[in-house]
Every structure is written in structure tokens, then in C-alpha cells.
Amino acid sequence: MLFHLGVGEHFFVGIWYNGYEVCAKESAGFMGFLIKEFAYFFIATFLLYYLVPKKIQWVVLLVANTYFYYASGWKSFVFLTGTILVSYGLGLLIEKTKKKSLVMWGSILIFVAMLCAMRVLPAARSIMPLGLSFYSLQCIGYMIEVYRGSTEAEKNPLKYYVYISYFPHVLQGPFADYNELKKKIFAPHAFDYDKAVYGCYRFVWGFMKKQVIAERIGNIVNPIFATGEGYYGATVFYAMVLYCIQLYADFSGYMDMAVGVSYGLGIELQENFNVPYRSKSMAEFWRRWHMSLGLWFKNYVFYPMLRTKLCTSIRAKMKAKKNKYAMNVLPTTIGLFVNWTLIGLWHGFDANYLCYDWACGLIIILSEFAKPLYDKVNKAAPKFMQSKFMDAVRVVRTFILVGFTFLLFRPDTLAVSKTLFVNMFTKPGIKQLLEYGYWNLYDEFLIFLPIVLLCIVDSLKYKGVNVYEKVHKWPFVIRWLIYISALIMVYVSKFELAKGIFAYYVF
């Protein structure tokens, strides 16, 4: 989703679209579906959805999804429809045929080949539709579930179409399990005021994160990430920390908006972020960051990989040798390597994506290898190792490690990443940071309070507090003061910032 924010008065901003996925990073080719138009689109969908008989509410979604995606261009629409029809047919075939395994693998191959072709062939890149990487994985997941027998193949192609093309999640997720989502999408929904208000909160909060924090941080860090040349030490570190905040605000902001819109229709989507920067290890970080992607790869790549003959035979051999450590670590290493390689290729065929995902996998693998050492240290000084101080150290360490991996992810090429890493450790760059900070003082001033607010909200969430419920119970005047403050912050942002695209939109 790409929210075009230059339009002005319309607070209940809208949805992006148009343009091609591969062009998104350059933001070339975007035509944009304006905020005002999304507001009309959503209000019309919302009203129709609750006015029609509940049995046919899903038909309203069918029309809305079709319109929503068609607005991104007829080529993308035809591609999406074709993809959905193919996976629908393959799902039925997998269910009926006796050669289930063969058909399932053939189906996966078709989708993987299509994704590869779209990324590699120049002719295909020009028609690459929005959200292809996301909805292709949804289709593959569905076909595997049919193969496993955990879901029946959907007989109604229109209902299957609604599931895949559901407009809040079709472009960037969150990935939804067919069994779970069909219960919600095809269930009758009466208008629920509380849910609608909650949806509004989530949407506005997500929009704030995207527009006020992520976009403005972009102003500060983009010059540093452009070539990496001439920026050193503390300045690069500063950009790295800010980028961690930017990507989180951007991607989780999108998710808040998607979840909020869906809530308005009474349909709960899976959460995709759970306070990731409070993680104490890289493995925990990936259980809290882009959770639905992690779950998809765990269910369809990592677990099946660990159940292959290769991994089970290694485990059996190590068990026979009574080497419990190797029995766990070796198959896990193989599984993690395959898993992270595939996630890297899913992100894109660029070397920096692959290196980024390998770096994440490598850190998790190394911490698995080092586990006996950690256990010894934990046993030697249990009080100290379980202290709040050590927890804080682990959180900071994980944040910095994540930041290092983002230095591979954010720049356009691996050469820029290399320059940034080298420059970070060659000169202190403190004086440069002070100067750079001074030149960006205006942006820094404007993001300071929103970031503090984000930290407070996340801290409360981490403690299990439902912030939205709390705010909802506050007096009317205070709530409206918050809304007006949010409006002012967004308004201040909109005058100067370029039309933003979501960072994950490129996938």
C-alpha cells in the first residue's frame, strides 16, 4: 500500500496503488490512487457491507477486492485473477488425484518458476503485479494445506478469490491461513461500534507511524544510505539506529492500517509485529518481527526440511553416538540454512537481500552452537545472568545486531553496505555526527516526541496492557486532544515530505 499524502485535507487517508512492484523502490511508475478515492472506496464498501443481508457480505468483499486491485492496472488484475484460478484448480486437483505428492510438487514448481521469471526476465518485470510475492505464498500455502489434508479444497472459485485477494492483506500480508481466515471472512458480521472504533484507532496509529516517523526519518538517513561515501563512525551508527526505527514504523504502520481497515469490517487479521525491539536474541526477534512470514516459512520450509531423510538420519546417527548436542544442532543448521536462503531469494535476487537473510540465519545458528557455553555461564552466575541488567544488555545487543543486518538490507547494493561497514569502524565520526545532527535538527525535533510515544506504547504492549482499550476509556476531551494532536503532526508532515511508499512494498 502506498499512501499518497500530498492530497491534503483528507485525514482518513487512502490507499496507494498503481505502478509496478519492481519499480517501487525508485517510486517510478506510480500513479497513485488518492487518499480521497480510498476514503470513498472504503466508505462505500463499509456501508454496503453492513447494509446487505449478512449471507452475501462476502460478495461485497468480492466486488471491493476486484475494484481495489483493478485500480492498480488491468495487467496486474488479469495476472492476479489468472494466478488465483490456477491455484484454485490445482487445489481441487491435489484433493482428487491419487498422485497428490507429484501434483503438489508440480504446483509449487509452477509458482516458484513464475516468481523467478518475474524477477529475472526484463519483459516480465514490466508486468509484475503488486503484491505478487505475498499472494503467491498464500496460494502455495493453501495448496500445501490441501495436500496435507488439513483443509478441504475450496469448491467455490469466487470464495477462493475473496480469500486470496482480500484487499487489506493482498499487497503486503499479513499471511493468513485459509482455515482461519475463511471462518472470519465468510461468517456474518453485524456492525460493532467498538470494533469500528478500534479499527479507526489502529488505522490512525499506523498512519502516524508511517507518515510522521518513517517518512521523516527517511529525510535524515537517505543521503547516508545513498552511497555510504563520506560518512563515518558515529554518523553511520546513528543512521543505522534511525533506520531500525524507520523500517519498524513503516512496516508495522502499514500492518496497523491493514488490521484497522479489516477490523472495521469485523474481520480480525493476524498480528505481524509484537514489540520486536524488546527481543533478547535474534531468534526471538524473528518470532516478533514479520511474524506471519516467519510462521509461513516455519510451517512450509523449516519443519518439512527437518523431517527429511537427510536430517532424520543425521539425528539418528548422532543419537546412536550419544551426541545429544550434535543431534539437535546439525539438523537445525541445515534447516536454518535452507530456510534463510529461501527467505533471501523471496526478498529478491539482489545479493544484499541474500546476504541480509544469511546474516540473520548465521547469527541464529551461531547462538545455537554457543548454547552449551551460555548454559555454563548461566549456571556459574545464575543471579547475575538473570538480572534485569543482563536482560537490558541482551536487548541492546540484539538491537545492534539487527541494525547491522539492516545495513545489508537497506542500501541498494552490497558495495554500499561494504562502504558503510568499513566507514563505521575506520573513523569515530563524532564531530561529523554533531554537524549532521545540527543540519537535520528540524526533522529530529519533529520525530522526537512521536518516537517517545512509540516507545511508550510498545512498552505498555510488552507488559500486556491494551493501549487502545485504555485510550478508549479516557475522557472525551482528552481523547479529542490526542486526535487533534495527531492531525496536526500529520498535517505538518504532509507539507514537506515526498509521497511515501512502504518499504516492504517492493516485495
Binding site: E145, R148, G149, S150, A283, R287, K298, N299, F302, Y303, P304, L306, R307, C311, T312, R315, K324, M327, N328, P331, T332, G335, E368
Partner: protein, 79 residues
């Protein structure tokens, strides 16, 4: 084998896999309740339960089981 006997044997497997004899799992126990029962250890645990009871979990069960109670259901249906 009664359900209680299955649960007792499952507890033994947990002790073996997690190297901790103090673990006591009950029907409602989930991965969140057992330290170290993460996705990396889950497959080792599944493999050891298969070895202990002499059957193979289906992939949908490996992925779908929500707690020990569901694990017991699957074991009971397969032995």
C-alpha cells in the same frame, strides 16, 4: 495404553529431550510453558516421541498441535 500411561511416557520423553527431570507436562501445557521448547526443539521432541511410541506424526499434526492434550490425542489415535 491408557491416557495416563501415555502422558507419563510423554513426560519421560520431555525429561530426556530437555535434560530436565523437573518438567511436568499436563494436557494444557503449551510450548510457552516449557523453557527451550521453541521451533528448533519442537522437531527433536516430535522425533523422540515417534521413537518412543513407534509411529510417525503427519506434517499437519506437527504444525497444528496446540498443546500436550492434542499431542496425546494424536498418539492415542496412532498406537
Amino acid at each position: 495404553m491408557t491416557r495416563e500411561e501415555i502422558l507419563a511416557k510423554v513426560n519421560e520423553v520431555f525429561h530426556e529431550v530437555f535434560d530436565d527431570d523437573s518438567i511436568v507436562v499436563v494436557e494444557a501445557t503449551t510450548a510457552d510453558d516449557v523453557e527451550d521448547w521453541d521451533s528448533l526443539m519442537h522437531i527433536t521432541l516430535i522425533g523422540e516421541i515417534e521413537a518412543a511410541f513407534g509411529f510417525k506424526f503427519q506434517m499437519k499434526d506437527v504444525v497444528g498441535m496446540k498443546n500436550v492434550g492434542e499431542m496425546l490425542d494424536i498418539i492415542a489415535a496412532n498406537i
